[in-house]
Structure formats: structure tokens, C-alpha cells
Amino acid sequence: MAILSLAFKSLLNRKLTFFITLFSIAISVTLLLGVQTLKTETNNSFLKSISGTDLIIGSRGASSQLLLSSVFHIGNTTNTIKYDTYQKISKSPAVEWAVPISLGDSHKGYTVMATDLSFYDHFSYANKQHLSVESGKIDNDMFAVVIGSEVATKLNYKIGDKVIVTHGGGEIEGHHHDNIPFYISAILAPSFTSIDQTLVISLEAMEAMHTDNHNHFGALPGEQVLPSDDHQEHADHDEHEHHDEATHEEHADHDEHEHHDEAAHEEHAEHDEDDHHDEATHEEHADHDEHEHHDEATHGEHADHDEHEHHDEAAHEEHADHDEHEHHDEAAHEEHADHDEHEHHDEAAHEEHAEHDEHEHHDEAAHKEHAEHDEHEHHDEAAHEEHAEHYEHEHHDEAAHKEHAEHDAHHGHQDTQDQRVARLLKIKPQNINAIFVGLTSPQAVLGMQNYVNNFKEEPLTAIIPALALQELWQFFSIAEVALNIVTIFVVLVGLLGMLSIILMSLNERRREMAILRSVGARPGHIFGLIIGEAGFVCFAGILLGVALLYILLLILQAPLASYYGFYLDINMLTANDLLILAIIQISALLIALIPGWLIYKYSLSDGMSIKF
């Protein structure tokens, strides 16, 4: 013990070399343990990326590619599989739930993933945790987007912000689907999985972006695509007016209008389905439909060369023919009223209409127009009347447009023309990239995997995530080994630094050894002094290294989580870490045998003679 106290005092006397050695060992220990920690944490966060999902199904191909693209959103997306396949598989008796996943688009470098609402119910990570919403509300709207926490913080997005999705994964390349802006409905809480770097949209919207083959939707027949999306509808109707005035004699045009009306119907139907749209919108859409019908009816009348006096009746008939979902009264404007309030109508529909209408401003205008229109109908020629008709139509649509805008203000989102068309078209997803499947019982996994791998209608691959993750991790084990070797060498360099410092000090310490010998120290004491010094330096280095590691982890934890979405869990040293530290300590003592043996020899030969 006396020798250890001497060793300690000796070290303190040579503070500079002591601290340099101490730091070199401390840094190597920090590096070694840091690498170990990172390795463990990476492995953990890697294996925690998905849980509770029994199978991931994708098109036939490499399972690692399917795993990487579907779970980590890394690399090329796999080939698509049919949505029908998804529907078939989800109906399979062993399947408890199935979530369709579609990938391939990005937003400013972040992955855009399309899925449906069941994703939030079934997708889980880590210890079967579900994704949780930090702010906003997951909106079942076609053009709502739910963004991951990192997307929100890095791009400084908030609820209601507009997002344009880019085709392809790159940050700059690819086609911008700027005709279909999304509004942010919810921001997810950090999960430290790839979801943090992901924007989640609806499958329908993904399909909508792609069905037009990356051309804007706007190319409705007879229309000119306008770049602005704000008042496109209005402009659109101007176009209608212009068009009607100029070319209503073309029969083809009528057909086109009919087509348009059908689209409008669909839109209407879609709004019926959509619980987020209130009555007002509904009615506005109804208005819109009605007017288009009216318009169309007018054209139809024109085409039929009917008498103007019979216009109303004719129009009515036309409406009856075309409208799939409404009851129609004699006059087109009554039908309009019908759409608004679903009320009883009589011939004096204008007044009733006025009384019942919620959209007074608009409808008053419409009424006037209708009145005018009626007047014209009774007295004017066809062309004139039509003109008036269109005039009215335009006004009406303007009002409708305003209403529509007001409605959409709920979301801070205003549908572009393309989006409305997309809604009207009632787009259904055709293709997806992957299916996350939960099974009714774990025993069903292999059977189901077999079933999927031999799926008749298209070639599929089913992977078991936990297994595939482990397999993939094996791939990284080479890098892990390389990293380990590097850190072992760093520790070795630290220890060799200590060795060289002790060796260099030996000659100048031979006098000290002689003095110690003279007062009765044995060569073994001298040996112990050197070994003790090395042991102290290494032990202090290890302690400092561990302290540095924890300081570093504490400092890095927040930035790693916020900038890299990597959650570093700070734990106690593992048994493995302690083993490593013990090995370092023992190595230091073993290395110190070299100067220890030398000094032992010196002290034997020098004795008490002071030669230096």
C-alpha cells in the first residue's frame, strides 16, 4: 500500500505527462464506449422501427429491399402490387388487419407515404407503441397530410400549411405535383422511426397525383389550362361562358358539357360521403351541378331547336334525364332551390327560394338572374336567352365559388381545379407498394407467408419484419466489426502512449530508484511502483473516459433527436462495457510489465549507485 501511495504521489509530481497520458486513455475509452453505445442504440432503434406487424407484403423481390423501402423508406421502392390484391389479402381469414402502403414521392427530401387511416390504428413501433398526434387532428380528407415530427421542425411547418409533393425521391429532381397542394392536418409526436421523416397522405391523393401521368388535370375538354389555381374555377366558368357564346352550335361541345356534368355529379356524391364537408358546401356543389345542368339543358334545348317558350319544360326534362340524385321541378331555377333546401317548390319558386336559402347573397343574385333569364325566355330569341343564361350562370358560379372558398377556409385549404376534379373523379387507388399485415394468431405467420408467396394473381413476397430486421442487421455486422477494430486500436494507441511516457521517464528515475533501494525498497517495490503508476493512470483515464462519455451523450442527446431523429437512450454501463473496461485496465497493467521489468533489472544492477 505504501508503494501505491508513493506511485500516486509520483504521478501527481509529473502532472503534465500524467494528464496527457490520462487524457489519451480517457479519450480512447470514451471513443470505445461511445461506439459501443451507438452500436447498441442503433441496433435498438433499428429493431424498434416496426413492431406488431406480422408480415410485410410486397411485390416479388429481395426481402431486404422490401423491408428497407417499406419500413425505412430507404432505396428504391419495390414494384407495385394491385390494390385488389390488398383487398383480397385483407379479407383472408388469418388476417386481422392489413394496411396498404404506397411510396415513391417526396417533399423536400422527405418521404411521402400514402396509406389509409387504418395505418394509425395498426402501425406500431418499439414496444408496440402507436403513433401519437402532437398537434392537429388526423383528417380523413383526400388532400390532408399528416407530417412526422422532424418534417415539422426542420421545415418549420404548422397545421394548415400547404405542402407540394414531388414525384421521385430527390430533393430537386422530379416533377412537382403543384396542381395538388396538401394541407397539413396533423403533426405526429416523435417516434424516432422513419415516420418522423415522413409525410403521410391518402392513397386516393397519391393516385390522383399519378393518374394524370404527371400532366395537370386541368385539361378538361374545351378548357384551357390556367396556371393559377386560386380563381381557376371562376376563370373556368368564364371559359364556359365564352365557349358557349362562341361555339354552342357545335354538338360536340354539348357532349363535353354533359361529361362535365357527370363529373360534377360525382363530386357531389363524393361530398356526400365526406363527413367533413358541411351542408353549405354540399349545397353549393349542388348549386354548381344544377347550373351546369341548366347550362347543359339550355344547350340541349338549343340543340333540339325547341321553342323558347317551352324552354323550362325542356330544361326540366333534360335535368330529369341527367340528374341521378335529385328531384326536379319544372323550372331549372326551382331545381336550384331544390338543391339548396330540399324544399317543396311551386311556380313562384324564386320567392321561396329566397326565403329558404342560406346563401342569401348568392341566391339573390341567382334569383335576379333567374328572373332575368325567365324574362328572356319569354321574350327573346334563343341566342339572346342563352346569353342571358350564361350571364346568370357565371354570376351564380362566382357566388358558388365564394361559398366554396369559405367552406374550405376551415382547413385553410382551397381546392385547386385539379383537386376538385380529383374529388369528382372519385379516384380509387390502383397500385400500392406494400401491405403491413397483422394476423389473428402468431401461429398463422408461416402459413400466411406461404400463401402470399404463392399468391396466384400476381407474384408477391411476404417477409416477417423481426426476422428480416435481424437478417439485415447481420449485414451491418461487418461494419460493426470494422468499427470495433478501429476503436480497439485507438485504445491500444492510448496505452502505447502511456508505455512510451513511462519508458522515457525510466532513465531519469533511476536515481529515485537508487534512493528508494537505499532506504530498504526491494526491487519488487520498484516494480510495483511502475505498475501502480500505470494502473493509476489507466484507472483514472477510464473514470474520466466514462465521465466524458456521459457528458457527451447528455450533450448530444437533444441534437441527435431533433436533427437526426435518432433517440439516444442513456443507460448505465452494460456488463459488456464493464468487461471492456476491465480488459483495458488489465491491458494497461500488462503493458506496464515492460517498464516494470526494465526498472526491476535496473534496480538490481544499479543497486544504490546513482549513475545518472
Partner: protein, 235 residues
Amino acid sequence: MIKLTNLTFAWHQKAVIEIETLHIQKSQHLFIEGPSGSGKSTLLNLLGGVLTPQQGSISILGQSLQQLSSSQKDTFRSNHIGFIFQQFNLIPYLSVLDNITLPCTFSALRKAKVLKRSESLNTEAKRLLTALGLTDPALLQRNVNELSVGQQQRVAVARAMLGSPEIIIADEPTSALDANHRQAFINILFEECKKEDITLIFVSHDTSLKNHFNQHINLPEINKANANLVTQEAV
């Protein structure tokens, strides 16, 4: 008290020490005169039990050194002999007091003796320092390298004397001192050795000092190996 008989020590096949007989009496102050190269440090190492002779015997205080193991010799040395060297006698990283009490780290016997006399090692160290004329308490706080050479040598004396070993061997302890300090140092050393009844073996090439001693030996005269060396050189 110290008896050397037919002592031979060779280093790399070359005889360095060949002494037929040497007797040193208790309480004697012996001056061994020897220029450098005459084998005096080898003789001191043999006396200290650090080196083992190839032939002959060394008996100290009735104890034959060849009967002891090397570690027993180390303990024997620390129990019974105090050493003073030419200079740089002190361990640089130990305080003045720690330097003085260092022998007690290795010798339980001397520690026991100290504690019989004083209440603690440090008290005894301070008492010795005072006796050696180092009364300034500020000295104790200083790094040993900041002491003057004369002060360092007196600290070395204090260390050699702590716990009253029977023998003190001083190897050129005054060579680093100037004439005044040399005289003062020798006076103090003699005084303390007398007081404690310590046998003093003083080795030096400085013959001017031999008058202070009641016995003196010229090492080349008794060391035949040395004579051989000289003859060889002559040839």
C-alpha cells in the same frame, strides 16, 4: 561489528573488490579514502546487501549477509543502515517530512523505534531537523528541490538517522558543499552520531577530511583488485 572476510566481487568477469579482511568497530567513525574507480560504490553496495559477493563473507551486527535472502537483506538494510549520498538524496515528489520518514515505510523496526521516542513520525522528523539546525518551519512546506544543497544534505542526514539505525554510510556527502558548509555539516553529523551512538562510515576522495575521524582506511591499499587494475593499466 562489521566484518569482511576474503571478500571478492567481480563485475563482468573482472574483479572489482578483493578485500582480505576489514573490521569496523561499533561507534567508530571510519573514513574510507578512495578515488573514483577504486571500487567504493561497489563496496557500499556490498555492505548494504544490494550486491552479493562471489566469495567471502560479510557480517554486520553479527548477522551474516549471505544467510539472508535478497529481500531479507533489503529489510536488514532498512532496519540497520542509513545512507547519505553525494547529492540529490531526496525523492523529488515527496515532501521534506515524507522524505525523512521514508525508511519507516520499509522498516517496521525503525518505525517502532521512532514511535518509542516520539509520538509520531513527523514529530520525530521535526525534532531531527531542529537538531540539525533546520528550524525554519517554512522549510517543511517547500518542494525538496527548492532547498539549498546544504539543506538537502541535512534532510538526508535526518532521514539516515531516523529511527536510530546502528550504522550510517555516507558516500561523498560533502562534495557538493562549499568549505564552510562542509565543516558545519561534518560537525553536525559527528555530533548526532555520537549522541545516538551510531557507527559512521564516511567514504570520500577528499583526504582533507580524514583528520576528523578516529580511523581511516585507504581503499586502494586494502583492495587488491584495485592494485591489479592499476598494474594492468601500467602494462
